[in-house]
Point group: C3
Chain length 214, copies 3
Amino acid sequence: MNHAAIDHYSQLLRMGIEFSATLAFAASGMLAGARKKLDPVGVCVVAFLAAFGGGTLRDLLLDRRPFYWVGNVHVVWLIFALAFGAVLFMRKRHYEPTRRLIQLPDALGLGLFATVGVDAAQAAGMPALICVLMGVITGVFGGVLRDIVCNEIPQAFSDHQPYALLAFLGGWLYLLLERLHAPDWLSLFACICFIAGGRFVAIWRDWRLPGWRT
Amino acid sequence: MNHAAIDHYSQLLRMGIEFSATLAFAASGMLAGARKKLDPVGVCVVAFLAAFGGGTLRDLLLDRRPFYWVGNVHVVWLIFALAFGAVLFMRKRHYEPTRRLIQLPDALGLGLFATVGVDAAQAAGMPALICVLMGVITGVFGGVLRDIVCNEIPQAFSDHQPYALLAFLGGWLYLLLERLHAPDWLSLFACICFIAGGRFVAIWRDWRLPGWRT
Amino acid sequence: MNHAAIDHYSQLLRMGIEFSATLAFAASGMLAGARKKLDPVGVCVVAFLAAFGGGTLRDLLLDRRPFYWVGNVHVVWLIFALAFGAVLFMRKRHYEPTRRLIQLPDALGLGLFATVGVDAAQAAGMPALICVLMGVITGVFGGVLRDIVCNEIPQAFSDHQPYALLAFLGGWLYLLLERLHAPDWLSLFACICFIAGGRFVAIWRDWRLPGWRT
C-alpha cells in the first residue's frame, strides 16, 4: 500500500471509532433515560448529550470546528431515530434496564472516546499529559452530562471502581506505542481494548480503588 | 422601502427579540431566586445566568463574538437594577411567587430565544437540523442553568409537558417559512408565537407527553 | 528600572498570582474531596477542576489560548502529586478536614483568581463591567465545579455570606486604582487583600447578607 492509501485507511478507522463511540454512549444514554422513565423527548435529549457531550467539550477546549454533530447531521438523525424506537420498544415490553446493563455500552464508549480524545489532542500538537487529560475528558464528560440530567451523582465520581483512572492509563499506553512507532491501528486498538476491557473486568470482578477506612 | 431600509429594519427587529428574550428569562430567574429566598446577590446571579446563559452557549458553539452581554453592557446593568428592585419590592410585600407564575416569562423567553437561536445558526450557514438544535439549546439552556443554581431538577427535563419539543417543532416551522420565502418578520413572529403560545396552552390545558405505564 | 524590566517584573507578578491562586483552589479541592471520602482518583479530579475550572471558563469566554494548564503542564503534575500525597497523609492520620478549614484556601483563591480575572479581561480591552464580571466568574467557577462534583450546593450560592459580592466590589476597586494610575503591583495587591481579607473577616465575624424575613 502506498502512503495515500494508508492515510485514507487511517482516516476511515478514526471516523469509525468516533462513530462507534457516539453510538455506544447514545445507547447508554437511552438506557439511563428509560430507567428514569423520562418521556420520549427526554430520552432523545439524554442520548444526544451522552453521545456528543464529550466530543463537543474536547473540540471547544482544542478550538476545533466543526463539531462532530455539526459535520455529521445524519448521525444526529440516526440517534434520534434509535432513541425513539428504543422508547417504543421498551414501553411495549415493560422492559426496565438494570444499572448493570447501562455500564456495558458506557464502558465501551469510555474506551472509544478516550482513544479518539488522545489521538485528536496529539494531532493538535499538545504536550503528552494534556493529550492524556483530553482523552479522559472526552471519555468521561458525556457520561457525566448523562448522569447530571438524569439527576444522579455522576458514576465517574461516585462508584469507587477504576473509571477515569483507566482512561488515564490507557492514554499513556497509546502515547507509548506511538513513541515506539507502532502502526496507528495497533496503538488505537490497544488503547481501546485496554480501557474498555479493563472496565469490563473491573465491573465483573468488582475491583475497587483503595478507599478510606471507615 | 429599499433594501438598505429593510435590512436595517430586520436588524432592529432581531435586536428587539434578543432584548425581550433576555428580559423575559431574567424575570423568570428573579422570580425563581426569590421563591428560593436567595439573598439579593444570589437573585442577581440567577437572573444573570438565566438571561445570558442560553445565548452565551449558542455563541460559544457557533464561535461568535462578542457575546450579547459583552456587547450590550447597559442590558447587564438594567438586569442587575431590576433584580435588586424586585428583591426589595417582594421582601416589603412578603410576596412569594408561585411556580406557575415563573412559567409565564419562562414560556415567553423560550419562544423568543429559540427563535433567535435558529435565526443565528441559519445566518452562520449551519445545516437545517443543526439550526433547529441551536434554537433548542439557546431556548432551553438559560432555564436549565437557573434551575441548577436554584438546586431544582431542570424543568425542561422533569415536567412531562412539551417544552424542548415545542422549541424543536417551532424551529422547523421557521425554516419552512424561510424556504417558502416568507418575509423575515413573518417567519420570526410565527416561530415565537408557535413556541410561546404552544407552551402557554400546554400549561393551561395541562398537556402531557406520553409517559410510561406505571 | 527601565520599562522592559518593569514589564518583565509585572509579568512575573501575574504568573505568581495565577500560580498561587491555582494552588489555593487545588488545596480547597483536595480538602473537599477528602471530606467526602472520595477515592484518590476522585480527589485528583476535584483538585484539578477546582484549580483550573475558573481560569479555563474565563479563557473560553475571552477566547484566549493556550489555557493555563495546557501551557504549564508541570503545574498539573504538581497538583496531582500534592493531591496524591494529601490523600495518603490524611488517610494515615484519620484526618477529616472541617468545613471551616476548606473555606481558608477557598477565600485566598477567590481573591487571587478574581484579581487575575479582572486583569486579564482588562488586557483584552473589555468594558469595565465585563472586566469585573470576568473576575467574579474566574474567582467563583472553580469552587462551583468543586462543590457540584462533591454533590453539594455550591457554597457561592448557598451560604448567605458575602462571596461573589466581594469579588464584584474588589474588581471595581482594581479598576478604580488603575484609573488613578496606581502602579500595577499596588492595584493587584489591593484587590487581592480586599477580597480575600474581606472574606476572612466575613467568615470570622459571621457577616450575613440581608436575607428574607421568615
